[in-house]
Structure formats: structure tokens, C-alpha cells
């Protein structure tokens, strides 16, 4: 057991998966000798060789498309897109092929691949390096979208994603890459996908979040507790398919819900979750569901990113609104 950061946990899970399964191959831009721009693949090429840890030509569509071909041919590719903002040309391959290959061949071919990419704002990165495209991926049938929020979750969920027989888009919050350390045991044990986690139990309002927004929500929960309001905080973890059992059970208990997301609001996962709660738990609701999201603007350059992303104060404001709703 050692105390490691989230990015180190990604590296540890990749090492473990490559050690345990010869079929696992890592590919992407600068993942080899350089170990990835965030160091997520540091040391892997030295350990497993340049064939299994392959620096690709600079072409994101190629990276995703090659992973489809490799997976169909029996490998377990883990492809890295350097930043989520560059993943858009790879969406063609994920949407048209990765998510459909099993169905369109009626199970004859399948696509057990992982597409990893750092995402989200908050690290003062250049333009196009702070995107939150989770809703675009979550809209795609036939894939999973997984979004870890801590070193232990990154380790366990990445192992689960690599072992998954279907394609997984694995979104890594770059803001949390080095924010804190956590004890992670390198035991090769996956965490369950398709399942949300209760990060903090409470009775008065449910806060649903994922990735970096989990910590803003926990901070908000602390502040609310000061007023005597006890928030239950859910770490969604898998964004497709969403574990509504956990969400609805919590909302039925609290009667109030705030969904927090750092992606723009329109056609977002926050909207989707809100709609599901309205459809399936309306009579348990004591107030309309609130969404706290980024604005429907382009992701600004970093001087304004703190004004773009939701923070604890906005979450507290929304929580108070639903708590005080008459």
C-alpha cells in the first residue's frame, strides 16, 4: 500500500494490467519515452517495450481507429488522447465503430478498448486544453463513459475498464491529477463500473457530482452542515450507463437534489439526470431539481476559468434554494 496521486494511480493500473495480460497495449502521442505529457504512462515503455507502449503519429482519429482494429483482432488497447479538446476527431471512430461493432456484426466482432483522456478545467492550461466533453460521449450507444474522482477510484475503475468486454471512454480530471494523494493497494482489484458511490451520507439534499466537482460538492456539504443541513453527496463515477438506482434512492430519501457538472448546461448530463429524477421520483421531490453547471459558453481561456466552473459557493446557493423552496 502506498500513498499516490491520481495520475500515479493511472500509471499503476496500466502497469498492473500490462503485467497481468499480454494483450494490453498502450498507444498514443508521446506515451513512450516521454511517458505522456502528464506522466500517466511514465516508465511503461522502458518496462514493456516500444511495441506494447507505442508512440503513434500525431493523429487522434488514427489512434481511436487503430484501437478499434486492435481490439477486434484480439488485443486490449488502451489509447490515450493527449487532451479531451483533441478527442473530437476521434469521436467519429467511437461513434461509428467502437460503439457499434458488436451490434452491427451481431456479436461476431467486439471492441474491448479504452480511450483515456484528461479533461476538465482548472489547471491554467492553454486554449482547447480544458474541455468537458462527457455528454458528447455519453450520448453514444454501445460504450461506457467512466470518470474517476480519486487515486483509488482511478486505479480500480481503470482496471475494470481495461477488463471490460466493451469500449470505455475513460475521462481523467486533470485538475485532480496531483491535487491529493490516497492510499492505493496494487492488488489488481477492479472497482465496479455502472455504479455510483455515496461519498458522504446525508438526509436533507442530494448533491450529484463527478470528477473534480465532487470536491466542490463536498466543500458545499461542509458549509451546509454548518447551517444544520445534511447533504448526501453522490460520486456518479460511471456516466454511461448512469446508476439511477443509487441516485433515485437518495432523492427519495432527501426530496431535494442539485446536479453539479463543469460541462455546459444545454443537453448536458445534468439535464439528463434532472429529467430522469423528474420522471421517476416526482412525487418524492420537495423542490424542483437544480442544475449547477458551467455556462453555455465556449470554455474560456484560463484567466476566467474560475468564473466558468461551478464552485462550492454556487452549489451552496443552489442547495439553499431547494432547501428553502416552498
Amino acid at each position: 500500500m502506498s500513498s499516490i496521486t491520481l495520475v500515479e494511480a493511472v500509471n499503476l493500473a496500466l502497469s498492473r494490467a500490462m503485467e497481468d495480460d499480454d494483450r494490453v497495449v498502450v498507444l498514443g502521442e508521446d506515451v513512450g519515452i516521454n511517458g505522456g505529457v502528464f506522466r500517466a504512462t511514465a516508465g511503461l515503455q522502458q518496462r514493456f517495450g516500444a511495441e506494447r507502449v507505442a508512440d503513434t503519429p500525431l493523429a487522434e482519429g488514427l489512434i481511436a481507429g487503430m484501437a478499434v482494429g486492435m481490439a477486434a483482432e484480439g488485443l486490449r488497447p488502451v489509447a490515450e488522447i493527449q487532451f479531451a479538446g483533441f478527442a473530437y476527431t476521434a469521436i467519429d471512430q467511437i461513434l461509428n465503430h467502437a460503439g457499434r461493432l458488436r451490434h452491427r456484426t451481431q456479436g461476431r466482432l467486439s471492441c474491448p478498448m479504452v480511450l483515456r483522456t484528461p479533461c476538465g478545467a482548472g489547471i491554467h492550461a492553454p486554449e482547447h486544453h480544458s474541455e468537458s466533453p462527457e455528454a458528447m460521449f455519453a450520448h453514444i450507444p454501445g460504450i461506457r463513459v467512466v470518470y474517476p474522482s480519486s487515486p483509488a477510484k482511478a486505479y480500480g475503475l481503470l482496471l475494470a475498464s481495461i477488463a471490460d468486454p466493451d469500449p470505455v471512454v475513460f475521462l481523467e480530471p486533470s485538475r485532480l491529477y496531483r491535487r491529493f494523494k490516497e492510499e492505493v493497494e496494487d492488488d489488481g482489484e477492479p472497482l465496479p463500473v455502472d455504479q455510483a458511490f455515496i461519498a458522504r451520507e446525508g438526509t436533507d439534499v442530494t448533491l450529484v457530482a463527478w470528477g473534480a466537482m465532487l470536491y466542490e460538492s463536498l466543500k458545499a456539504a461542509d458549509e451546509l452542515a454548518g447551517d444544520g443541513h445534511f447533504a448526501e453527496v453522490i460520486d456518479l463515477a460511471t456516466l454511461k450507463p448512469i446508476d439511477y438506482d443509487t441516485v433515485l434512492e437518495s432523492v427519495k430519501k432527501t426530496g431535494r437534489c442539485v446536479v453539479v457538472s463543469e460541462a455546459p448546461r444545454t443537453a448536458s448530463l445534468a439535464s439528463e439526470i434532472s429529467a430522469n429524477i423528474s420522471e421517476r421520483a416526482l412525487l418524492s421531490l420537495l423542490a424542483p431539481v437544480e442544475r449547477v453547471t458551467a455556462w453555455d459558453t465556449v470554455t474560456p481561456m484560463f484567466r476566467l476559468e474560475e468564473r466558468y466552473m461551478p464552485n462550492a459557493a454556487r452549489i451552496v446557493g443552489a442547495a439553499r434554494k431547494v432547501l428553502e423552496y416552498q
Partner: protein, 363 residues
């Protein structure tokens, strides 16, 4: 001044349009009778194609993309590929798939709107028909990478059209194939049209083959209406790939004698004269003329083959018509290895709706 590359593009042709030998034949063609299976396959492809168009016109299948004019390319590739190689087709390669053992009724199923048209039990590693242009090219690089990693003497052969060479996926894949020296062969079926856009408007490059030079890989042009040339050129390229000597891009020159699909009307953008001229180049007549001249084929043989082909086509049509329609639940089957529980409510919703529909119709 640095001379980085100078190039000539090899062009392979053994039979001229009238079927006369234009060059000394390769050894596999020494005995003309050895090419009879290829000829028979080409005739069958054309018979099935005509039937499929008729079936579309009578509403028995949906939009269909004709293979008319590319029979030599399909037969030549089918003859060369080994069973454990991987074919990555576009949507026009039903002929190659047939030669890889896939029952042609699958082609009718596919264009009849049924995913079971992509189930190839006889050639299980081959990729399904691919519609988004050139998007199969990166898959081929991935498949070839897997083969190379495992030190397998296998080849990934990807097919695309002339229009596909304008796409990023095409260039990204041949570039990667060169960088890693992958066991990959790309055959560009240059049939002169991407729907209505003619080859000259697709690119200022003098040949499409030469796009490989920028990627640092081998390239050739081949007469795509000459079966012997296709077999020879593809055979050499596949052999290079199989023995670790790198990828090849082949541009097969042919002409789309049909409309783009049954939803297209090519008279809007090309002249009857042009089409008439191109019929003089077509691959089946060319090979038949040669087989006649070699004494390997007679009009009697031709009549018997035509009858055989019709019978076999009819069998395939019957196999298609006898396939029960898919149940609605098929939409959810094979979406995931195991359907996540979150989908059960939608499956239930669909089932209930179907029951209501049945009652509605009964009422």
C-alpha cells in the same frame, strides 16, 4: 536543392481490352484453365448484382450499391488472400467476401436492412461492410499492428474508393502503416467517380497511387479490369506484407459501370458516350475473350455457366427471403456483451409498445 524522391508509378496490365496478351503472363496464368474459378466467380458476381438491382426496384431490398465493373478486382483479391488474413471492405466488396466463403445471401440481407448481413461465420475475422468513407483504414492499421506484434504471417487488406483518398483517415492510416512497416495492403478501387464527383476534381495528384510516396510506402497502379494483372499485383503486395517487407498502396483503375447506388442516377453527371466507351474495357468480356483464345472456354461452357449462376442466385435469393425478420429485441442484443441493467426499462417499454401495437392492429 535536395532530391528527396523521384518516382515512376508502375502500371501492371497483361490483357488489353480485347483480351489479347499485352505482356508475358505470370506463372499462375500459364494454364488458362487455372483461372476458370476466377472467371466463374466474376460471372456469378454480375448475376447476383443484376438480381439485387431488380430486387431493389421491386422493393425486396433497400438501397443497393452495385458492383458492376469491379468483378476482376474482387475476384483477383479473393484468389490471393489467405483464409486467416483480414479483409476490411468498403460497402462494395461482396464479391471478395463471397470468395472468402461468406454466403452471398448475406449481401442481400445487408442491403435488405438486416445486421445479420454482417455476420460472416465462414470468415469470422473479416470486418463488416463499411459505409463511413475511409473510416476502415485506421482499423486496418490496428489489425496489422496486432498481427505484427504477435509475429503472425498474416495481412490486413483494406479496400476503399477514389473519393476515400481525399480523407484524413486514408492518409493517417497509410502514414502509420509506413512508420511501423505494418503488414497492410490498401487497394484503392478508382472507379473514376465519388458519386457524381469525377476523379479529376478529387485531387490534382496525377495518380492516386503516388499518395503512398508521401507516406514512404510502396505503390503501384494496376488495370482493375484485368483479372491477371490484379492477381499479380495484389499477390506481390500481399507477399511483401506477409514477409515483413512493408505495406503497399495499389490503385486499381476501373470504371463504375453502374449508378453509385440504386438511389443515384448517373445520367445527371456523365454522358452516354463515356459509358459506352467504358463498356469496351469491362473485365468479364476481356477475360472471356482470352479464355476463348486459349481454348479453355466455349460458348457451350458459357451457356452452362449462365444457367448455373442463375440457379445459384435464385438459391441465395431464397435463403434471403427465408430468413425470418429480426425481432425488435435485436436492437438491444449485442449492444453490450451483457446489457447493463439500466437498459431493462427501455427493453420493457419497447415490449409493451409492441404488445399495444398488436392489440391496436387486432382491434
Amino acid at each position: 536543392m535536395t532530391v528527396a524522391a523521384t518516382f515512376e508509378i508502375r502500371f501492371t496490365r497483361y490483357l488489353d481490352p480485347t483480351g489479347r496478351e499485352a505482356a508475358p503472363l505470370p506463372s499462375f496464368a500459364a494454364d488458362a484453365r487455372a483461372l476458370l474459378p476466377d472467371y466463374r466467380a466474376m460471372v456469378f458476381m454480375r448475376a447476383l448484382d443484376a438480381k439485387a438491382i431488380a430486387m431493389q426496384r421491386t422493393g425486396q431490398i433497400g438501397t443497393y450499391a452495385s458492383t458492376l465493373g469491379k468483378e476482376a478486382i474482387d475476384a483477383g483479391i479473393g484468389a490471393v488472400l489467405a483464409p486467416n488474413d483480414v479483409l476490411l471492405p468498403s460497402y462494395r466488396e461482396s464479391g471478395i467476401l463471397m470468395l472468402r466463403g461468406v454466403s452471398p445471401h448475406r449481401t442481400l440481407l445487408y442491403w435488405g436492412g438486416d445486421e445479420r448481413g454482417n455476420v460472416f461465420p465462414e470468415s469470422p475475422h473479416d470486418f463488416p461492410f463499411n459505409v463511413p468513407i475511409a473510416s476502415q483504414m485506421p482499423h486496418a492499421a490496428g489489425v496489422a499492428y496486432a498481427m505484427k506484434l504477435r509475429r503472425e504471417p498474416r495481412v490486413a487488406l483494406a479496400m476503399c474508393g477514389d473519393g476515400a483518398t481525399s480523407k484524413g483517415d486514408f492518409y493517417e492510416a497509410i502514414n502509420a502503416a509506413g512508420a511501423w512497416k505494418l503488414p497492410m495492403v490498401v487497394v484503392v478501387v478508382n472507379n473514376q467517380y465519388a458519386i457524381s464527383v469525377p476523379r479529376r476534381m478529387q485531387s490534382a495528384a496525377q495518380t492516386l497511387a503516388q499518395k503512398a510516396i508521401a507516406a514512404g510506402i510502396a505503390c503501384e497502379q494496376v488495370d482493375g479490369n484485368d483479372l491477371i494483372a490484379v492477381r499479380d499485383a495484389v499477390g506481390r503486395a500481399v507477399e511483401l506484407a506477409r514477409t515483413g517487407r512493408g505495406p503497399t498502396l495499389l490503385e486499381a483503375l476501373t470504371y463504375r459501370l453502374s449508378d453509385h447506388t440504386t438511389a443515384d442516377d448517373a445520367t445527371r453527371y456523365r454522358s452516354a458516350d463515356e459509358l459506352k466507351e467504358q463498356w469496351k474495357e469491362e473485365p468479364i468480356l476481356r477475360l472471356r475473350s482470352w479464355l476463348h483464345a486459349k481454348g479453355a472456354w466455349s460458348p457451350t461452357d458459357e451457356q452452362a455457366l449462365a444457367k448455373d449462376a442463375q440457379m445459384h442466385v435464385q438459391k441465395m435469393v431464397q435463403a434471403y427471403l427465408d430468413t425470418p425478420p429480426p425481432g425488435s429485441e435485436q436492437m438491444f442484443e449485442h449492444l453490450y456483451a451483457r446489457l447493463p441493467r439500466q437498459y431493462q426499462s427501455q427493453v420493457a417499454e419497447l415490449t409493451q409498445q409492441e404488445e399495444r401495437d398488436v392489440e391496436h392492429h387486432a382491434g
